[in-house]
């Protein structure tokens, strides 16, 4: 009885080792992160961005639906009167320190102005850097702080 158990434990020991041994010949799956990058999927929910239309006008009309929908109140919009009695978006801020990256704001936008990019390296040294204003959000994302 006891000898059986010893034999079986030795067999299992060898079986376990054989699994790890064969893994020596399996190609590695690790990604050497800052040096190697993976391509994110098309639907990746990264940093938000605002879009302009074909004529270069801001698509955002300041309806505040995104701010209304946001579960964590990360979006702040101030609107005012612009030229020719038009409504103007004075400021549009997203605090990504609060942002959940859930994408509900993008779904709420009725003008296709807000979208999400594949930008995920959003760490920074102070809280002020976490607040993205209108100027930053209209530019194509260029926030990678990692320098080689």
């Amino acid at each position: 009885m006891k000898i059986n158990r010893v034999i079986s434990s030795i067999i299992e020991f060898i079986r376990g080792l054989s699994v790890t041994f064969w893994h020596l010949f399996v190609p590695s799956v690790t990604l050497q992160y800052p040096r190697q990058r993976w391509t994110v999927s098309d639907r990746y929910r990264g940093l938000e961005r605002l879009a302009v239309d074909e004529e270069g006008r801001e698509r955002c009309v300041g309806c505040c639906l995104c701010a209304q929908m946001c579960p964590s109140n990360a979006i702040k919009i101030v609107t005012g009167e612009g030229k020719d009695y038009n409504k103007e978006v004075i400021s549009f801020e997203i605090d990504i320190a609060r942002c959940l990256f859930c994408g509900l704001c993008v779904e709420a936008c009725p003008k296709n102005a807000l979208s999400m990019t594949g930008e995920y390296e959003l760490a920074c040294y102070n809280r002020a850097g976490m607040i993205y204003t209108k100027e930053g959000l209209y530019k194509s994302p260029d926030v990678t702080r990692y320098k080689k």
């Binding site: 020991f13 079986r15 376990g16 054989s18 994110v40 639907r43 929910r45 709420a108």
Partner: protein
């Protein structure tokens, strides 16, 4: 004879094998535990209270933060509860994709469990292998909804988008290789002498006690009770899919719960294989203008759709004043949402019945019979608790 006395020590909250921030107060007689007192609440975020100040659609991303290892299951349970409240019919296509993604989340959750549980007991290798396979599942999530961990994968009434190109192939590829990987984990652990000695006849709970302590999920099935909500009260399309409910050897120890979860991964893989072959054509979200925002193309072109869209985003929908309870078989057990609606656009009360919270109380029973400190680690691992879910 020297006089001895009981020693009271803290295990946690910052203990790696308490899987989060669980604090256990142990009364020790030598190395034997005489009394165990779990102290929870270190991760309390007031999620149930938060729900009372959010519209139904807004609360969805918050459910990701319950059981963060299987966020998709939480989304599903919440969506099912709200759909039940509204009496909303979900299209078949959406239900099939929901089943595929939740079963994948079950596999992902169990993979984290086998990795960390084995790591607690002293086997390092399965952790590396399990996280390698989990990565494939997270890639599938990223492809489908754009996020890996906090998925916000479903919407009330269906799915946010249709399945993308390459999704079916990617899932099929995963289900093809995955059973072999489970064999690999089993080769490392199932008959390993050290594993057997650490897990067999440790933390025993009988079927009767398990039911009395409201255990659910794999932890209950390990005691030999064939209880699975997917079979007992089928939701989504589980009644159209074939699978077995594994129950282990029927002793109810740590090893049994291990066997059940290993077999469950294979069964989940089988379910995904069947479901992916059966996805029907059709809509991916229900058409119900009063509850579900219209599609984006309509919003951009049609004034009626735009009005509905504005109305739904600004104030949300107003469900009838009633109470509903909907539950699913989450990876850890029965996950239920109990919603009390007073007819306004926000829930009056939202109670979440989380499996980890109910499962943890059975630790009193499991620790009986002279368990040692090292066994406590094995027992906590076998319960597969997640503190985000316990404290909410």
């Amino acid at each position: 004879m020297p006089e001895t006395q009981e020693l009271t020590i803290n295990m946690g909250p910052q203990h790696p094998s308490t899987h989060g921030v669980l604090r256990l107060v142990l009364n020790l007689d030598g190395e034997i535990i005489t009394k165990i007192t779990p102290d929870i609440g270190y991760l309390h975020r007031g999620i149930e209270k938060l729900a009372e100040d959010m519209t139904y659609a807004q609360f969805l991303p918050v459910t990701d933060r319950l059981d963060y290892l299987a966020a998709v299951s939480n989304n599903l349970a919440y969506c099912l509860a709200v759909e039940k409240l509204l009496g909303l019919e979900v299209p078949k296509r959406a239900s099939y994709v929901r089943v595929i993604l939740t079963e994948l989340s079950r596999i992902a959750s169990h993979l984290v469990w086998i990795g960390t549980h084995a790591l607690d007991i002293g086997a390092y290798t399965p952790f590396l292998y399990a996280f390698r396979e989990r990565e494939d599942i997270l890639d599938i999530y990223e492809l489908f909804c754009g996020s890996r961990l906090t998925t916000t994968c479903f919407r009330i009434g269906g799915l946010p988008q249709d399945i993308p190109e390459g999704f079916v192939e990617k899932v099929e590829k995963f289900t093809k290789i995955f059973p072999k990987k489970v064999d690999e984990y089993e080769a490392l652990l199932t008959k390993n002498e050290i594993w057997l000695r650490r897990t067999q006849f440790v933390g025993i709970i009988s079927a009767e006690d398990g039911i009395n302590y409201s255990l659910s999920g794999p932890s209950l099935r390990g005691s030999g009770v064939k209880w699975d909500i997917r079979k007992a009260e089928p939701y989504c399309v589980y009644d159209e899919l074939e699978f077995d409910i594994p129950t282990g050897r029927g002793i109810g120890d740590v090893y049994d719960r291990y066997l059940v979860r290993m077999e469950e991964m294979r069964q989940s893989c089988k379910i995904v294989q069947q479901a992916i072959a059966k996805i029907p054509d059709g809509d991916f979200i229900a058409t119900a203008a009063k509850f579900v925002p219209p599609p984006k193309e309509r919003v951009l072109t049609d004034i009626e759709a735009l009005i509905h869209h504005f109305k739904l985003v600004v104030e949300g929908f107003k469900p009838p004043a009633k109470e509903v309870y909907a539950c699913i078989e989450a990876p850890k057990g029965e996950l239920g949402f109990y919603i009390v609606s007073d007819g306004s656009n926000k829930p009056y009360r939202l109670k979440i019945r989380t499996p980890s919270f109910a499962n943890l109380q059975s630790i009193y029973k499991m620790i009986e019979g002279g368990m040692m400190v090292a066994d406590a680690v094995a027992i906590i691992g076998s319960l597969d608790i997640v503190l985000g879910e316990i404290d909410r």
